[in-house]
Subunit: 226 residues, 4 copies
DNA sequence: AATGAATGAGACTTCATTCAT
DNA sequence: AATGAATGAAGTCTCATTCAT
């Protein structure tokens, strides 16, 4: 039950917001380094240098904590990737920026990315079924499908089932993240981004005929990759 | 500890082997239906209609049981997919059969496939690090890379980094499995197989020049981004 | 520990007295609605719209708070029932008024009555022994016994052991309260009062012989039973 | 969830039945001596000289344990009181035997009686409402009401509301138990039984006129009360 | 006079593991 | 070869209490 005394309303003091952020940050770190199953409240509290009770004070139990970490991280990755995608006009450019941005997120926010993967894989319903299963990919998948349908309408992409293509993109990015987690710096993320962009460009581009909108060159100057 | 009397050597009676197989089978079923974290020895024993002690008798603890389930399942999937691949000659055909076989395995051995995913995601070292992380993909990845290198040598495939392409294939297949787990029959595996084959065929095939056995395949010009 | 600065002496400012009364009132409400075990300081503070610290400021811990709630409520029920009893002369009338008043208290002060029951049942010494056990009934029991002895001396009542009769009256009233708590409005308290009066009148009245003080008619007109 | 491995089926081994009985016995003792709120599993296990886990092994959690203690004790008191009641024919005799039996149970099974009272008072729903509130008295109350209605039909009892009379009887007995708990041997249970029988006999007996079935004298010889 | 923040003990539960039979 | 019984550690959660501000 949402017991009393916890500052879960809208009004948040400065110190409270700081603690909350600190706990979330530590949870991400522990998720990344210990894995979902070993991310106990005790470990998290120890890392934060606080007592376990504080976590219960700020969050409605472990489930709530994990859910908020998930939401916060999803918001972060969305905020970092989507705006860049929105600046592009052509579907192929959108996808390129999406892939590049996703891989860049893995590089700049390794712990966040790993924690996200842990949550996706580890969070379960009481009966053991995945709680953030493929369903939690939905928003991202639908976003990708939207881009693909646009590309197909514009004649930029060949015909294919958008859902499968979107799955392939997500799976590829996640698999690269896994490699990064396993092998660390030995995995060249720049190269991975470059290759994945080329891979899916080749996989989707329509080479069967003349570009329908050939008269319409890229409406904006080619943006350098970095 | 590996106490004396346990039949863990090579010599195994028939009944022993049967028990062992039964336990492994039940573990797979429980992993698939309850998830890694909820797959307790009690649940497995109950499903097998035996007492928990028997599991300890045949396996050196839970970790050992899971490891053997993993090995057994990997062996199974390998046995079902690789021979078919070996009957093909051209790299593109090998890849097609590999993808089709992998997706078919998901369909015919749903529990095995799900259990495998659960183990990959859930099994950890005592410190919390993934025990069957990306490293356990290695054999499969290297197998795929070998096919790709062959295709590139034959001029069938364009130049690309085999490792990344292999990762993308594995990721795509795993993601389709996740969808299947999440959405069940609503996911059309035949369609998925067809689409993935087309996807990676388009992604890899060399369309720049004359066909496969031409005299001079593109050595490695243009590792350009597009 | 009773730290300095807390207004626990006699001298109390108006605002202090108001806070104290407010906390006690809220404690009664929470006891009645949540039960003893679930009446946490957090819940009480929340209901009062104050912080938990205030309660510690005005009371020496939870035990002290409950004790004061008990004392206050006992005082209230005494103040409401005893004066009416005192206006009667004959023992049978006193008992009638006592029962009617007790049941009326249950009706007009439902939360107080329920809270009292919760305290009687729930409050324990640190070792787990009832802290407000039967002993806390003592004043009320002795009061009833006094009335009975008077009635026996006057020849109004037959001979019986006053203590047991007093226990029966208290038990009957408490049991009616329990029914009220459990079944709410479906329990007709007017009827219960009427029946209990008749029950104990029949149980105690001496019908063996002529009224000793038959010459002394009821000194006041029979008060309507409702 | 009813986890696996617990012997909760019908088949019970001897040793298992013994453990189960031992745990229930210890729970009754701890309930009686420590009160409901302080009857933790740790205390119960300590008293039984076993580890906490054993309790979980034999019972589905604390709630289940308490429920079984309740059921077992109710069964015991029923088994001890009801047969004796059934041997009587006249309602007044049935009630006499019921009261005598109930008080005798308090004397011979003090811990059981106290534990029962603790459960009635202490067991709550998650929201804090009584779980074995007055409702759990229902069977007993209805049994008493049945006797009373028979007595009224036979003309043995005067008219009154059976439910209130039944409540009064239960309340009186419980209150005597409370006194016993509080004052121990100083409370004379024989006297209490004698007095309560006389009390309720006087309260219920119809003295208004001739016995309706006066022609039918007591069908069996008066059984000496002691 | 009051508050928000933090603590730490204690409760219940789950589960891998051990052991006598 | 197998079982039932038992253990003990670890996890999550609640809550009275303390304390600096």
């Amino acid at each position: 039950m949402a017991s009393a005394g916890k500052p879960r309303g809208e009004r948040r003091t400065f110190i409270e917001e700081a603690r909350r952020a600190q706990i979330i940050e530590c949870t991400i770190a522990v998720l990344a380094s210990h894995g979902y199953a070993h991310a106990s409240l005790a470990t998290i509290a120890e890392r934060a240098g606080i007592s376990k009770g504080v976590i219960s004070y700020y969050f409605d139990g472990k489930e709530d904590l994990i859910a908020q970490v998930h939401a916060e991280t999803m918001m972060l990755v969305t905020k970092l990737v989507l705006p860049a995608v929105a600046t592009e006009v052509r579907a192929s450019d959108k996808l390129r920026v999406y892939i590049e941005g996703s891989i860049a997120f893995v590089e700049t926010h390794a712990a966040h990315a790993t924690a996200l993967l842990e949550i996706w894989n580890g969070l379960r319903t009481p009966e053991g079924r995945p709680a953030f299963d493929a369903r939690s990919h939905e928003p991202g998948l639908e976003f990708l499908e939207g881009i693909m349908r646009q590309g197909q309408k514009d004649g930029e992409f060949r015909p294919f089932v958008p859902r499968i293509m979107a799955l392939a993109i997500r799976g590829a990015i996640d698999c690269v993240l896994l490699q990064r987690v396993a092998y660390g710096d030995k995995v060249d993320l720049r190269e991975a981004a470059r290759e994945l962009v080329a891979l899916f460009d080749a996989a989707m581009r329509d080479v069967s005929g003349p570009r329908p909108t050939s008269a319409a060159p890229p409406p904006k100057a080619r943006r350098g990759r970095r």
